[in-house]
Amino acid sequence: MNDDRFEQQITEAVRDYHRPPEAPREEMWAAIETERRRRRTAPRIVVLRPVWRWGIGMAAVLVLGIAIGRRLQPAADRTQASSAAASTRPGDGLAYQLAAAQVLTRAEIVLTSFRADARSGGHPDSQFLDQARDLLGSTRLLLDSPAGRDARLKPLLEDLEVILAQIAVLSASRDTADVEIINQGIDQRSVLTRLQTANPAGLAPGHAQGAI
């Protein structure tokens, strides 16, 4: 088929696609005014998206873990906290293990989905980016918790933080080159493989093994 002819036919034919009528200006303006008045007077109800619910839940688990840890840790131990790589008390590490397992599992899902999208030429949508930002917050919380002092987990969390931070700022650029750089980072640091093999139960050796 002749390309120019096709383009011309398409251009002519598409003009009929969803051909708009005249804009009902006054009706829409009246509706806009009514809706704006309603929004100004209506009480604000915050509806959390599912990803935020997850994030808040995980943050709550972390905060609870920190609180339990501090409560169970004697005052003398607290002064030596910097030298303690991991807690040895039952119950102390369990909340962190749970939170770490949740973060690592979600990170694996997010990164796998990111790579799949990139392979198919797609760009992450805003909901996905929200999820990555939320996960970034959880990862940072985890790094600040005792889990972040675990010698095996810390490098993985730090690499994950970098990758998630790169994904989180993608919305502004929408550049496929950025997506490619992030994918290279995931490959070079073997982040997905390490996520798959990470065993957060190892956080507290000798205690609560297999709890997750």
């Binding site: 096709f6 398409i10 034919a13 696609y17 969803h18 708009p20 829409m28 806009i32 550049d175």
Partner: protein, 180 residues
């Protein structure tokens, strides 16, 4: 009144300036929303939501692009998000109808070119369809599309080219009639 003065007055909350801004842009916003939605009621909803958001967020408009570009960016976001919700709802409804054994209308066995073209455009991924609508139907330049959709000019051109390739593929059996 020039655009920057109009924006200042809208920021100050002057009702007359809000109405002037609306009058200056509503036709193009509605046209774009209607082209994307294909439905008057939805197009009205999307247009109204576009202006409500614009008035709420006019303080964040930095003037780096034209006001029309900023408004069209809001229109495409509102319309595409709204259409996704409608699609999810309709998919559920269709599934329920199928489960109840309620069949839909009878489809024409040999749809004409316009119907085929409409279906082919409807089937395009959102990003391609939006560029086709803006460029081929509403006459936006690639620069305007790139600004409104926050992408590079080259990406806009590439997406239009891919969209046309997909349309060509979908309408291949009409090719003979067209070139005859």
């Amino acid at each position: 009144m020039d655009e920057s003065e109009l924006i200042s007055r809208v920021r100050a909350g002057e009702p007359a300036a809000e109405r002037a801004l609306y009058d200056a842009h509503v036709d193009r916003v509605y046209r774009l929303a209607f082209r994307l939605a294909g439905d008057d009621e939805l197009a009205r909803d999307f247009t109204q939501e576009t202006f409500i958001r614009a008035f709420e967020r006019i303080g964040t408009f930095r003037g780096e692009s034209r006001l029309s570009t900023w408004l069209h960016a809001i229109t495409t976001t509102v319309s595409l998000n709204g259409l996704r919700k409608v699609k999810r709802f309709r998919t559920r409804e269709t599934a329920l109808e199928a489960a109840d054994g309620v069949a839909g209308g009878v489809r024409s066995a040999e749809p004409d070119l316009k119907t085929r073209l409409r279906d082919a455009i409807d089937a395009l991924p959102d990003k391609y369809r939006t560029v086709v609508v803006m460029h081929d139907m509403e006459g936006y330049t690639h620069e305007e599309i790139a600004d409104a959709l926050d992408m590079e000019v080259g990406t806009s051109k590439a997406q239009l080219s891919r969209a046309r390739a997909k349309l060509r593929e979908s309408l291949a059996d009409f090719a003979g009639e067209w070139v005859s």
